[in-house]
């Protein structure tokens, strides 16, 4: 008689915007079905915002997610400025894009590290997290904070980047470029990584459309959607860059898209800094006195995909309704498609491929027998079997 096993992954991931519990129903080592429970860390942020003033909402939405803590204020600011018909000064637009792209850099580097760790490449993990520190230090220099930067306000930004600081920032970016080359080379040229990630966790174009997936998850399946290009905001229409896509549809394609996006982000920041040199210092916001009655829809491209904010205002100083859609909300649902039929050893990397902020999972994931409820596997074991698979492949090659 075959033994059916349920492997729960989750539920508590305090660092993730949407903690969830995945139950993998397995027969042998093949995942047959998957169920999930989410909302373990539901904080009612949408409801909280109804009791905050429009200015205070920034600080709440910044805490929706620890990693993309600028994407939510970005989308919210876009929505509010559309509603108030406020035109942000150019210097503020550049600063906003710089912060947004620095965030993409540190988020993608974090992902590359975790993906490396799940595959058993702890050197990649150490490298990319080490280089991520450079970005976090840069954040501290520019905003005063390593995370939750509090840079945005309605009508512009709170702090300027002085022109005198720009050459230093450019120097730091220059030192980062060879490191990205190193990481990209390590991932793209390694036959074992190819073997572990190619044709694994396939998401077809139809799946992406059906699940409404966004960001690198969609772009790795050949769907060139990027809010920065499709619905331009901030300084993105003022600089040259391209949307990175891949036709691979698998985990490798997602890694490829993220790694190549690192180069685009560095280039965007570089161009923004150059253009800022020609602008007057201090011209970073316009005062917005009143928020009129009405509805508004703001979007921004977070490292994981489109962030969507919907605001309804009745003309008072706080929102009547504030709806937030984070990218993981739609991306995580694709797991049902990408994971079924794959082995448990690949499950960790497939889930990690949509970048649902996975760092806490290993402490909480465990497997137990479906009938006896006896624990047979924990998160570390899951990672171990992933490492084992990589080692086996290395031996064969």
């Amino acid at each position: 008689m075959s033994t059916k096993t349920v492997i729960p992954i989750g539920p508590y991931h305090p660092l993730q915007e949407e903690p969830e519990l995945f139950k993998l129903y397995c027969e042998g080592e093949i995942v047959q079905d998957i169920e999930w429970e989410t909302g373990y860390n539901h904080r009612g942020i949408e409801k909280i915002n109804e009791s905050k003033t429009f200015d205070q909402v920034f600080f709440v939405v910044e805490r929706v997610c620890g990693i993309c803590s600028t994407s939510h204020p970005f989308a919210y600011a876009n929505a509010m400025e559309e509603l108030a018909k406020a035109e942000v000064p150019d210097r503020a637009k550049y600063i906003r894009s710089i912060i947004g792209e620095l965030e993409r850099l540190h988020s993608h580097l974090l992902w590359v590290g975790l993906a490396g760790h799940f595959l058993g490449y702890n050197t990649v993990f150490m490298w990319s997290w080490k280089y991520r520190e450079i970005i976090l230090d840069l954040f501290e220099k520019i905003t005063g904070n390593r995370n939750n930067y509090a840079m945005f306000r309605i009508g512009g930004v709170r702090r300027d980047i002085p022109n005198a600081q720009i050459p230093d920032i450019k120097n730091v970016l220059d030192t980062l470029k060879p490191k990205i080359d190193l990481l990209t080379g390590a991932v793209m040229d390694d036959p074992v990584i190819h073997a572990r990630t190619k044709k694994v966790g396939i998401l077809s174009k139809e799946d992406i459309i059906n699940y409404g997936a966004v960001g690198p998850t969609a772009r790795a399946s050949g769907i060139a959607i990027d809010v920065r290009k499709d619905d331009p905001y901030a300084a993105y229409p003022l600089v040259n860059w391209k949307v990175i896509t891949s036709e691979g549809c698998d985990v490798f394609a997602k890694a490829e898209v993220r790694l190549l996006e690192l180069y685009e982000s560095v280039s965007i920041i570089d161009q923004c800094l150059d253009k800022m040199m020609t602008l007057k210092e201090g011209d970073i916001f316009i005062p917005v006195k009143n928020i009129p009655e009405g509805m508004s829809f703001g979007r921004a491209e977070a490292p994981r995909g489109e962030v969507f904010h919907f605001i309804k205002s009745d003309g008072s100083n706080s929102p009547v309704r504030h709806k937030i859609r984070a990218p993981s909300y739609v991306n995580i649902a694709t797991f049902k498609k990408s994971c079924v039929g794959q082995t448990i050893a690949d499950a960790t990397i497939i889930l990690a491929a949509v970048d649902p902020c996975y760092c806490c999972t290993e402490r909480m994931a465990f497997a137990y027998d479906y009938f006896t409820r006896r624990k047979i596997m924990n998160g570390l074991d899951l990672i171990k079997i992933s490492h084992q698979k990589t080692n086996d492949l290395k031996m064969k090659m």
Partner: protein, 148 residues
């Protein structure tokens, strides 16, 4: 992808759906709100998804003067337009046809709106709790309209 001229979208919708469309409001640059009759939701959503190749972003449930409102947000990724289908539901019997069978992306959000507002989605494949399991009784809806 079909690229359409947004100047003619209000007329196009009126032509295709006639009395199902109450009014079309151009809210801001690249943002439209289309007020529709709730019975026609499935047909109109299908038109946007299938014929115009829009992407379903999310739906928002809201409390309004006469009951509830649901806004379905769709994105045209070819030119950045967000088209919002808005429909009103009666306070006494808040129910509407589910979009989950049409597009998988609507599955979770309909469950969420159901458990928060108590709005029933007809023909939803699995209208169980998504985010508040164990927090409220099954007939208690935290964001529902206050009675009286």
């Amino acid at each position: 992808m079909v690229s359409i001229n947004y100047d003619i979208l209000p007329d196009l919708l009126k032509l295709n759906f006639n009395s199902d469309i109450h009014r079309v409001i151009i809210q801001q640059r690249r943002r439209l709100v289309v007020h529709i009759r709730k019975e026609a939701l499935l047909e109109i959503a299908n038109y946007f998804l299938d014929e115009l190749s829009y992407r379903f972003i999310i739906a928002t449930g809201m409390v309004c003067d006469n009951g509830y409102e649901i806004v379905y947000h769709f994105s045209d990724d070819t030119n950045g337009y967000v088209v919002n289908l808005m429909t009103e539901l009666d306070e006494k019997k808040p129910e509407i046809e589910s979009l989950a069978n049409l597009i998988n992306a609507a599955n979770w959000i309909e469950r969420e709106i159901h458990e928060l507002f108590g709005i029933k989605f007809i023909n939803h494949p699995n209208l169980t709790k998504l985010i508040s399991e164990g927090n409220w009784k099954d007939d208690e809806f935290p964001y529902a309209r206050k009675k009286g």
